[in-house]
Symmetry: D2
Subunit: 345 residues, 4 copies
Amino acid sequence: MTEETPIPTRWVGPIRVSGNAVEGEHQVPLATYESPLWPSVGRGARVSRQVEGGIQVTVVDDRMARSVLLVAPDAATAVAAAHATAERLADLQALVAAQSRFAKLIEVRPEIIGNLLYLRLAFTTGDASGHNMVTAAADAILADVLAHQPDLEYGSVSGNLCTDKKTSAVNGLLGRGKNVVAEIVIPADVVAKQLRTTAQRIVDLNARKNLLGGIAAGSLRTANAHYANMLLAFYLATGQDAANIVEGSQGITWAEARGQDLYFSCTLPNLIVGTVGNGKNLPVVEAALERLGCREDRAPGVNARRLAALIAASVLCGELSLLAAQTNPGELMAAHVRLERRNQA
Amino acid sequence: MTEETPIPTRWVGPIRVSGNAVEGEHQVPLATYESPLWPSVGRGARVSRQVEGGIQVTVVDDRMARSVLLVAPDAATAVAAAHATAERLADLQALVAAQSRFAKLIEVRPEIIGNLLYLRLAFTTGDASGHNMVTAAADAILADVLAHQPDLEYGSVSGNLCTDKKTSAVNGLLGRGKNVVAEIVIPADVVAKQLRTTAQRIVDLNARKNLLGGIAAGSLRTANAHYANMLLAFYLATGQDAANIVEGSQGITWAEARGQDLYFSCTLPNLIVGTVGNGKNLPVVEAALERLGCREDRAPGVNARRLAALIAASVLCGELSLLAAQTNPGELMAAHVRLERRNQA
Amino acid sequence: MTEETPIPTRWVGPIRVSGNAVEGEHQVPLATYESPLWPSVGRGARVSRQVEGGIQVTVVDDRMARSVLLVAPDAATAVAAAHATAERLADLQALVAAQSRFAKLIEVRPEIIGNLLYLRLAFTTGDASGHNMVTAAADAILADVLAHQPDLEYGSVSGNLCTDKKTSAVNGLLGRGKNVVAEIVIPADVVAKQLRTTAQRIVDLNARKNLLGGIAAGSLRTANAHYANMLLAFYLATGQDAANIVEGSQGITWAEARGQDLYFSCTLPNLIVGTVGNGKNLPVVEAALERLGCREDRAPGVNARRLAALIAASVLCGELSLLAAQTNPGELMAAHVRLERRNQA
Amino acid sequence: MTEETPIPTRWVGPIRVSGNAVEGEHQVPLATYESPLWPSVGRGARVSRQVEGGIQVTVVDDRMARSVLLVAPDAATAVAAAHATAERLADLQALVAAQSRFAKLIEVRPEIIGNLLYLRLAFTTGDASGHNMVTAAADAILADVLAHQPDLEYGSVSGNLCTDKKTSAVNGLLGRGKNVVAEIVIPADVVAKQLRTTAQRIVDLNARKNLLGGIAAGSLRTANAHYANMLLAFYLATGQDAANIVEGSQGITWAEARGQDLYFSCTLPNLIVGTVGNGKNLPVVEAALERLGCREDRAPGVNARRLAALIAASVLCGELSLLAAQTNPGELMAAHVRLERRNQA
């Protein structure tokens, strides 16, 4: 019997945003057990509303990937099969198109280790995050490759070079999900009044903590304070497969002092989200997506990129707020104590 | 105004378990939008019940960490401060003990980069996951170190060498959360009947996909198929801070053929979970923890380790089931289609 | 005044090889202070001569990369500049062709972090490893991009996304240097007689040590025992820039039991080597390259790929020999003691 | 028959140094095919001589490690064996002391994956880099553990958690070799005159290239421009096992603007070098070590740490010089062309 686990949820903001995927001021939903997250993102939203254009969000790329694994007798056979498959790209694209209205195959990339052939398949998937769409397409492509390459054997429909819900470098370097940059230039007086700090102190903290501290920790393509918190809360509120926060959290915060003003950015190369598919038809989720303006009648992919842009803006709000707090000794703990009390009241 | 996002939840199993933290047969709650997860974990649970002792779970270690960041004029000063602080370990332990009934400081580990001094503080935190407990302790220790080392300046209460909710090598190598191994030896006939595969095919797939595929993907201390799915669902159902699946997902699946039987294990070095604290007092969560037997009157930490053991067993169930499916061409997709239809019916 | 540091050097083998870059039996030069390396590679060479076709070597890819760094005011400008530059690919190719007889631009790949634009430029470079060739080309391309994109500023001629002589995932995933697979199938009796072990024991050791041990160590795209030793010795003997063993050592050993026989392979995605350029005209180096048959009058790149294939075969010899020794308790240390004594005699 | 590969070598400097391992002004030997390295390090040396105290070098730690691999039936047995071995630390230390005058066992650290037990053994090794010393000690410890733990089986004398000559996070986080920080504060006028740049431009380049570019490249505990070049050249000239530049190159450059002055540092956690042992008795090497003052009659380890300090100072010189050059468009290429011509003349 299916029950329900209710996650406390608040709409925060509005956040002011602009860019190539969404414009205007929008409240955002955050479902979380960690109630201090709401005022933290709220503070960032307040900052955004004091800046012309608010947070500028740029969607840089949009794709979904699945890697299949084939077993060859030796590397030479694997190389030959990779080349032959590359030449049949148009056939494979037709195969995918015949199977799905939305999935489009855009790249087949081989990787050979010993006698093993991994083919990393990249697709666009419209407004779906695309997990199932690309698995179905990979299944068909795998069968087709095996039919054309009798020397190969089935290895796996997923060879972990995709890679789904696991830390990796491949997703960042080759792309998986929406690649989004959120950025803002905050005047010195807003930094002082709203964030109680200075541009230079944010820049120094980002370098020492997110960049150097991350490097020292043996992080991988990760330099941020807490992207995972905002991602989890937004993903849950909008019916996403929130296990994808694993790769989603592999993003980079970069700040510069521009005179006394602060340039602050969050780069999120792997936002694996959609506005249709699994989980999106539950009433609460559907209402959330509608309120975010992500269920309009638009070209495939536009709603999903709008959603990704709003997520990236929310990440920036929470990241900025926490870093600002950590520039001041004792502020983080005091805020936590105060906010948890207030939220529990 | 706080609303709720209801996550579909089912109790799956029971899973048969044994080891140093939990014994017997226990159903487990999984809150997820991805309904195929339930029968997937359920299949693994069925396997566990056909093996004497079921899944053997060993809790190897239990700690929580926070790193503070101090700024020195140069490395020599940072080294001297690190040594002086190491000699004051007993004082710092007393400081922490005076502040909290449950937090105990067990290690102070310095890391020096140029003129920056990171102190990674490790604690036991009883039945709490310990995020706030160690932040409060770190705040106090930081103030104390600054008072004793006038040449140092405040850098940050968190220097990202902790590290929280971000991919890293440090958490696996130095420990953060419960370090748990779940393992099982499955007779050949159970592998054949319940999993429709063979021990050798699981071993080969694990090597080619989880180990080699993960290495090729540029993964970091990660070799598994989908730990994140089970972790997310269990964490949400039990009120955990589910953003900690980021490091939780950095675990290793290891399988061996023992004759025709299958040895199968999941090593999860970073399960950051608790049975008290934030989110644990919501009625649904409280009921879930009680049903799991994790709210008994026991020595501090015992309930939380029991919970971690049940989580690790659930991870093994889902991991085993998916890998078995992927040894058979087409099975994964067919199962997804069938299960999603059934669950939506 | 230039002096000389003489590195002890021996020609080892011959190694029997076949594949798409070199055929026949060839001795190989190893310059090293670690004299046990010679008999270790020699043992592998002996194995190769007892197998038909010997070590099969497949050159999978061949390219050299350099990344330039440009500073934009914001991400939107960076994206626009990346697109505009992609459309000018033919112009940039002509620019490179006008400057060098051998460098050919084959790919321009953007990566955007906040307001920063990294362009990773890939080239073929004939028989040169290509460090200077691609730096010169990058200089010209950088100037050209800056001329066409007045909103961008110079960041660096190298943005470390190349990346040269540093551990990374990017070189393996996107390619830099020769990507080479060396493999061999060794009959059970040769395994027993020459290597004093069995196929299964090699397979088990490789999985437990190179794959799992490497993963546990937080390695990155690295699963081998000691590629760096063979690479260093071969690079020095042939005038290579041996600092490139850093990325060269990021390779993967993969073994399978085929019945009682052993399939053994070394995948080396980043062999950055050449047969012309810096260091190649010293008399000893020139003689070594000639003896290896790598200074013949062939199409550009053929000599360098032949060299890379011989290097990969030598790596396999040494890797196989060490792993075989480590399957037997105490053998490694005893061999070291014996060999060092003999070599010093 | 042993031949020789002569590597062109020059003594560069002197470099002015101070700190806890070496004082004064010292020329350093660099053996390399890449002749532009000499003037590059030479420029850094010139800068050092214009600063009081020159480059301050701090040796933070000094150890050598080897990991053995044991196979247990299950994790519970592995944990029990790890605990039992920890309790026998004094016995194992005595065992090592009986075998070697210089090797001292300082730590035994277990890591458990499934049923596998890795013991990472850390030692001090006097003036030797210690490869063979720790292998011999590990052999003895392994035999002893197996004798006391009849449920365990031999896995490997090296389980790759050491790890030797391979990229990893473990060496940086747990230590292997000398952990050294070299740093300098350069007055603004010296930055301008000798390096033709400003402190802020160096700081910006380091952040954008070494930190961010490295993170984007999927580097691991690596943020520098070209440590490997200086390490290779110095290692070859002093008889080191230069394959250890693989981990040696995993270091971090960190710069700060202090007003108009430049704070510049290189942190090198894994300098695996010695002044006695393999390769150190060749006449040219012996002469080099003597000229560096590293063959004096001192307490064990002092000569080797002095050597490591000189290496770190040389790394700083070359790193500073290259970064300064890359702040100026076109300077790098022009310098290369000019220097190669001059050196070949």
